[in-house]
Symmetry: C2
Subunit: 113 residues, 2 copies
DNA sequence: CGGCATCCTTCTGGATACTG
DNA sequence: CAGTATCCAGAAGGATGCCG
């Protein structure tokens, strides 16, 4: 690949990571992605270790970037559902790749010991 | 997908992100990935905004995770080259996907304005 | 050139309590 | 249930200088 092509691609990766930054964002997306529709407290469970404050903040950012939608159901008490937008679903390939890689990576780590 | 399958995949994504955490790690990998072989100061340029302290630290972590190798050439002054290991190259698919997504994402952002 | 050491500021994010 | 508010410790990370 020529020099210019490299830089364009590196920049593109950087652009992608701008949206997906943060310790938890990709895990959150994968939770919503795999369940298709997911509630706040469920995501809190799925993504082990995250605090409600952080989850709230990161969900808000994902919503602002139009990767997910937030739906409030008029129940008592309130229920809130999160789903990927059509745009958010364009991330599915990446999520699947990461998941596959994570599974292999775990084998490597265990094999190391 | 059943409940258990979801959790395994979400966990796997989390495992992958454990290695790829940090604001810069994926950009650094993509720089080395696209150039095949790359020097410290070059990566510093490729990844806009990173400080040498951070780059040094993150490279060390990537090396510890056996994703890259560090080679010191006996020149004056010293030259150091970084390359992906065979294992690191298993990330190429993900990098390419992120790059493609980043290019599309940029179009979306620009289209928004 | 490729770092490491130091200082210092900003940001991250946990714990806890509270609200509609 | 799904957050918000506050407090606060610790980590992240920039700037600068030094070194082989």
């Amino acid at each position: 690949m020529d020099n210019k092509g490299c830089h364009i691609k590196i920049k593109a990766v950087h652009d992608a990571m701008d949206v997906l930054n943060g310790k938890w964002k990709i895990s959150i997306i994968s939770s919503i992605c795999y369940y298709s529709i997911r509630r706040f407290s469920d995501i809190l469970q799925d993504v082990g270790g995250i605090s409600n404050k952080m989850l709230s903040k990161e969900l808000k950012e994902l919503e602002m970037n139009r990767l997910i939608t937030r739906t409030v159901l008029d129940t008592q008490p309130v229920t809130v559902q999160y789903q990927l937008t059509e745009y958010g679903r364009t991330l599915q390939t990446i999520i699947n790749n990461l998941s596959d890689w994570g599974i292999e990576h775990r084998k490597v780590i265990i094999g190391d010991r």
